[in-house]
Symmetry: C2
Subunit: 119 residues, 2 copies
Amino acid sequence: MRERLSELRKKRGWSLQETADQLDIAKSTYAGYESGYREPSIRSLSQIADLFDTTLDYLLGRTDNSLDAIELTGLLKSPRHRLSIDGKLLSPDELVDFISFVRVKRMVKTEEMGEDQEG
Amino acid sequence: MRERLSELRKKRGWSLQETADQLDIAKSTYAGYESGYREPSIRSLSQIADLFDTTLDYLLGRTDNSLDAIELTGLLKSPRHRLSIDGKLLSPDELVDFISFVRVKRMVKTEEMGEDQEG
DNA sequence: AAAAAAGTACGCGAATCGAGAACGATATAT
DNA sequence: ATATATCGTTCTCGATTCGCGTACTTTTTT
């Protein structure tokens, strides 16, 4: 948490005060989050995630991806997201076909390398 | 929050008591989360996400599938999201292939229909 | 019908959150 | 060197509210 917040803030070149202002909380409050002295409420945490354009899971160190990778195979079973291309929603069939396409392509590439190691 | 928790729990056929026991908290405490009477601490929320094998963002309804269609062509220029297949991140090349793949397929389908109307 | 389990709602003590203030460190200006 | 301003850290205090126990209603089981 500490590390993630500090990293995201400094990457943007913001001071504690600037960040707190954008979140509409006191400087000491936000500083408490970064130092680990305080934990934000869920509401504040969500605002922070919005401000830094990231996820709760990343802020709390539950994932290494600042933006959660969307697992396409999982979308078929539980569509948490919808995808579109050229403004038109992607159909399940299109998704299935593409997943197969990528899998085959990856296998071919692995064979070309003469190895079975993962990329 | 309420809806997500209730949905996940019932999908597993667990009672409030069973769920609370697994989280090592009181039944009334967990019930408070589902009813909206209480909000969990971040620690409890993380445990809940682990128990239900999901993310904080999903629990809190931050990844609502009904609203946010992700335009894949936009991801190439500003990667606000990352995609994966079989747990492996999709490369930009693969994404380009994905988009071309779908576009071609859509054109073929349109021609087959003898129409140029949008689906 | 009785008993057990499931779900709901509330009061209370304890934990802790958020704001403000005080502090030292650093940088800039006079 | 002194003054001023900004930055980051840490503390206290009041207010919020969390988590548990408990009691209650509803549903299920025997």
